[in-house]
Amino acid sequence: MSTRLAKGGRLIDRTAAMDFHFNGKVMRGFAGDTLAAALLANDQMLMGRSFKYHRPRGVVGSGPEEPNALVNLGRGARLEPNQRATTTELFDGLEATSQNHWPSLEFDVGVVNNYAARFMPAGFYYKTFIHPRPFWKHVFEPVIRRAAGLGKAPTEGDADRYEQAYAFCDVLVVGGGVAGLLAAKAAADAGQRVILLEQTATLGGRTPVDEADIDGTPVDTWIAAIESDLRARDNVTIRTRTCGFGVYDHGYVLADERVADHTPGDGRPKHRLWRIRTAKIVTATGAIERPLSFAGNDIPGVMLASAVRDYVVNHAVSPGDRTVIATNNDSAYQTALALKAAGLEVPAILDARDTATGALPEAARAAGIRVLTGRGIAKVKGGKRVTGVAVCTQAGEGAVLEEITCEAVAMSGGWSPVVHLFSHCGGKVKWDDNLSAFIPDASRPPVNHDGSPMVSVVGAAAGCLSLANILAGLRDVSGKTAIRLPDVCQTPDGSVSIPPVWVMPQGAPIQLRSKMWLDYQNDVKVSDVQLASREGYQSVEHTKRYTTLGMATDQGKLSNINGLAVLADSLNEPIPQVGTTTFRPPYTPVTIGALAGESRGEIFQPLRRTPMHEWHEKSGAYFEPVGLWHRPYCFPRAGETHEQAVHREVLNTREKLGLLDASTLGKIIVKGPDAGRFLDMLYTGVMSTLPIGKCRYGLMCNEQGFLSDDGVVARLDEETFLCHTTSGGADRIHAWMEDWLQCEWWDWKVYTANVTEQYAQIAVVGPNARKLLETLGGMDVSKETLPFMQSADGTLGGFPARVYRISFSGELSYEIAVPASQGAAFWEACHKAGASLGAMPYGTEALHVMRAEKGFIMIGDETDGTVIPQDLNLDWAISKKKADYLGKRGQARTFLASPDRWKLVGFDTLDGSAIPDGAYIVADGTNGNGQRNVQGRVTSTYHSPTLKRGIAMGLLKHGPQRMGEVVEFNTIQGETVKARVRDTVFFDKDGEKQNV
């Protein structure tokens, strides 16, 4: 049984008891507990199930490296899956459930996989489930989906809020252990602005658990003194519960502060994401202990030696009355001594080394603990928890020498320095034979913008595994208070040596190797990696993906080095030659909420509103997003569907008068002596010859020749043009213009200004359009004075206005621009003046229908980045005389000049229906993939209320030569729609309606 000890526990407050629920069971812990510690104190050794075999899983670590003790935390709108019990601070009322079991944690049907394990080796997903094909869909996938998956996805929106903050400093120290504290003090003494981040709630790191004193001062006293010293300084900020999880370019660091994880619902943001820019980074991220690979090393009760020590010392939790230690280094002896000091039994220390003569082994012997060198664990006995171990010689093949009854096994396979942050942004690591670990390569650090080292590493993260080594390195030779920062990395002093022990016993046969877990969460064993290597996997990156080693939520913090060593051994190559996988941010998982911050709901992204937006809202407009704009799609009346509203708006505009808020239309002023010459390069047509006061439709292409934007250009005076762009294209086209002006034709005298938001623009459309303008009064808008494709400045109804006589509907139409500040008033004035003329507002969908009825193209419908103007029969808008324009050379390429291209035509369905959006025109035969051949596709398709039938435009191979031919469009249902090829102008072919 694991239980709470009567005395001790440096982090817990026994006067503050807390009740919590695990799988519905009420349990009790103390303030200062982690959930894992509290579960162990309640004898809840079984905490989850593994991913593939659903093996029973108990906690193995005591920090962010934990692969097993993952829980669903909270419920409802505060449910979070995959929370590590080892880093979850206990709070009163905490609710957690175990994961990855079905139907229950204690009894799991998936455990059958366990017995089928020999049929599910590395790569089994690839090998097993491919054939027979139908089995995948109907048998394997449903079963796997049912049984697999870590954690439950929440179904409700997150009840909490998150925020983001920015911080700047000279030195950022990540890690608040002794090395980090000393580094922070060194930088602070030098007058630098310092931020110190510590992922746990308390400072000090491992030292308070592992050491008795620092320079004769009790460790906790020493930590408290340096902490209060640092906190008293103006140039130091300390943030606990904050994990610096990623190092990026030029001193950019992201950190996740768990502000209210332990006080849910108290009104504070749950997390705060820090975006820190620092001149220099010091990582003091410590080291993570490695498991040993012996048979049954995944049985609940087998834990890292350091974790056992943490639970005993920090939380006064006993893992069991009897704990056997298995190790290849001295540090695990500290666990034996800590257990002994707590009054618990250590039946034996099994040390894989031939000799153990250091101070700690001697202390263990002096404490009366049985130390067996050259020994290892042949096998752990037990099922859902440890019942004993079988002892063998490390050098042999696993013959059992004796069996020892115990409740827990504390193992130490050495230490892996946490080099993650050093290598996130390009720092290289090197293999250290003395430590059997990767340590930062001080000669190849990540660099800053000026090429100087960006990250320094101190303490255990640099491979300095002894406190003496850390203290000596961070203080000057006099040993006094002065502290110095290393240029790049602290260096290990060689006092700690860890021999490689990758498999225990070294000659273990397959029966044992297939029970040695490397990756607990993903169920990858020593035998799987060996199999992968036999099957030809030589690269660690490939092996990782094939076996899923290190690909679980812990990202291989415990398993990567052991797996790599096993692979290297199988390949008969030294470890550094096989390499290591790349470390990428984040160091620990970061919740999406923290990354999103406040960018959710209404402020997910900026919302652009036209000056008339409020009117639209009051009038019940149904909006659609157009870029960042919200535009009225239609203005439905009571009882109307959107479709009915659109049809009413179209018919009313065609018969009487429609008003459109066209303010989102891009408006770019191009001005200067070379403005005409510049626009001649940008547009496919000629703009320099445009007379003042006239308008001309233009097309813009990219250098590949593909159509990119279109719009009407008006010449305002000799040197000034106003270019209209599509609503979504204004910023892009303005940037495009500036690109060419600044980078290619920088000697041309041209200015541009994007004035889109400076003007409100209203389209007054329909047979009564002129009457409305005359009612407003102030300008002569007659056919004679203001003919089609001309513009004029003046005053309309008292508003300063620029009136363009242009039409995107085929109706008599004026587009009127007024200053944005007067847009809402002018819109109201138009409605007032138009009331007796039958004026109604219309939205974007009516606009689309009317332009399609007239065969006008729409960027984004008729174009998709692969269409040239010639495909759309727009040759009339392309100058043949101009020597050059953007896209001219591109359009001359053979493929684009081919007569076999799909070209724009119109379609009448034989049955009058509307062709489905996105439908292809089928052709005879099938392609190499067995798919039906196609010869074209629909680009715009609507029900025309004007013609009372479906209309469509689309691209068809040799289209214009195939008038009258009947073609077939496919539908999602697998049927086809027959349609006759025709021209693209469905309504008022001669333009009589607009020329009045």
């Binding site: 370019d249 090429g451 050379r889």
Partner: protein, 107 residues
């Protein structure tokens, strides 16, 4: 996230203030270009691991395009300069040569 100093307004701009414009010092080829010239202009990008010249626009600042010389492998920045030049300025070339003695030159 890179920091590049805008040579126009002098601001040390975060990458989020900038929009990328890919390889710098490309020569435009127009209507008379051969297929090979046009292909090189449109598609053949260097994408080196090492010294590279790029276009950046201070999009959420002064709006100006500028050019940057930097190392794509280490992210070291050798310098930024206005876009209105045909080739990299001599002082930047000198700096790159000093930092990367085996560099083969920008062409």
């Amino acid at each position: 996230m890179l920091i590049l100093t805008c040579p126009y307004c002098g601001i040390k701009a975060d990458e989020t203030e900038l929009s990328p414009g890919y390889e710098a010092h490309l020569k435009r080829f127009g209507p008379d270009a051969s297929p090979e010239e046009f292909e090189a202009y449109m598609f053949a990008r260097k994408n080196p691991k090492g010294v590279h010249f790029e276009r950046w626009r201070h999009a959420y600042g002064c709006g100006k395009w500028f050019l940057a010389a930097r190392c794509t492998a280490t992210l070291e920045v050798f310098g930024t300069y206005p876009a209105q030049v045909g080739e990299p300025p001599a002082d930047i070339i000198d700096k790159i040569k000093a930092r990367r003695p085996d560099w083969k030159g920008y062409k």
